[in-house]
Subunit: 202 residues, 2 copies
DNA sequence: AGGCTCATGTAAACGGTTACATGATTAC
DNA sequence: GTAATCATGTAACCGTTTACATGAGCCT
């Protein structure tokens, strides 16, 4: 429901072509709302058909023509309306945590390795975000409204990456710790013979 | 690609019916991999057709019959294979941050209100997670491998909610701060007459 | 009487991903 | 010569969401 809105938001400042939007998304809104170029082109057609954006072809020599899209008054109205509607907390799908549900002594090492490589990726991201912050958002209190909103997006990214890094460190430490030896009575008893009591879930 | 795997993971400990799985997901894996009951039923059919689970009907009087699914050796193999494959960082879609990209003086109050209500929801979640942690995971070092994995999932949930709460507080504080008055020279100049220099994006 | 829990499903619609397609220019 | 950049798209597929369906028993 919000892909169209993400595009409208990106057109707020000025008109863009589909190609521009695709590149812009990669650096900005795309961090919290990933979108492919195919989606953008198709959605722009729909938005134009619905009268929320106006298309204008810019003829170019030496380069393919561009089709530049601009917000209409109606588009602006739809956008403002959307902003007042309540938002659901993000549903995040974390494959790694699903995998950890299957953790046992047999797969411990491969999961440890995976957490390690994830740690690295998050550290890289954090470094990139920190660099953008230092360069573009020195003192958030002095920013105007629009730029404050963008600052807060970046800020969320930084806090998230820091938290994830800290979690990776905890996870690596915990998984490296030896697992306590299970109670000795189980040693010689065949599995099928042991009484099965209803185990507490969780 | 991982819905089937999330189900296989849930069947690791013991056999479950679709109905059981749906309820179980809500409390466990569903936090990092949300799934509806329709998806579960359909996926169970596919998994059974592929020989990764074995279905058994349990006849009940007074209640509808249950169809209970159990991991096969092949299912276990597929699961173990999947665990060794690398994982992408989660792509999270945060509508609220998209909205903040459109922040201006006209919508500041409604966005402030929305951040406030989101703050509350995250505080509630954190309280629930803390309660589960206190009750089920007193000392993580003493847990066996399987339960350590689950502990780490919960731990991630707690860290995430804490971080989000802190971000909400920052956002509320920043948006409540008065926006600095723009440079006075713009006061009487008509917008069209002002020179338009290429503004720095970001 | 109305709503919840147990228990399973089908069907349509929507949204997103992957693959394929074209073609000129510029940089290495 | 090869790859990347600019610039736009179509088509098939897959995964997810929403709506609809059934029916008994239990609780208030």
């Amino acid at each position: 429901m919000a892909l169209s809105h993400a595009i409208l938001v990106s057109l707020l400042d000025r008109a863009h072509s589909g190609y521009d939007l695709a590149k812009r998304f990669d650096r900005t809104v795309g961090f919290f709302w990933p979108v492919s170029h195919q989606q953008i082109y198709q959605e722009l057609h729909k938005l134009a058909a619905a009268g929320r954006v106006r298309a204008e072809t810019v003829t170019q020599s030496e380069r393919p023509n561009r089709i530049v899209y601009e917000l209409t008054d109606d588009g602006r109205r739809v956008l403002d309306q959307w902003l007042t509607e309540p938002t659901e907390p993000p549903s995040f799908k974390e494959e790694l945590l699903v995998k950890l549900f299957a953790l046992d002594d047999g797969n411990r090492d491969s999961l440890l390795a995976e957490i390690g490589s994830r740690r690295q990726r998050h550290a890289d991201r954090l470094a990139r975000y920190d660099a953008i912050m230092a360069e573009h958002y020195p003192q958030p209190e002095t920013l105007n409204a629009r730029r404050r909103g963008r600052y807060l997006g970046l800020r969320m990214g930084i806090l998230t990456e820091r938290t994830t890094l800290a979690w990776c460190d905890e996870a690596l430490a915990l998984l490296s710790l030896p697992v306590p030896v299970p109670a000795p009575q189980a040693a010689a008893t065949p599995a099928a013979a042991r009484p099965r009591r209803k185990p507490a879930t969780r």
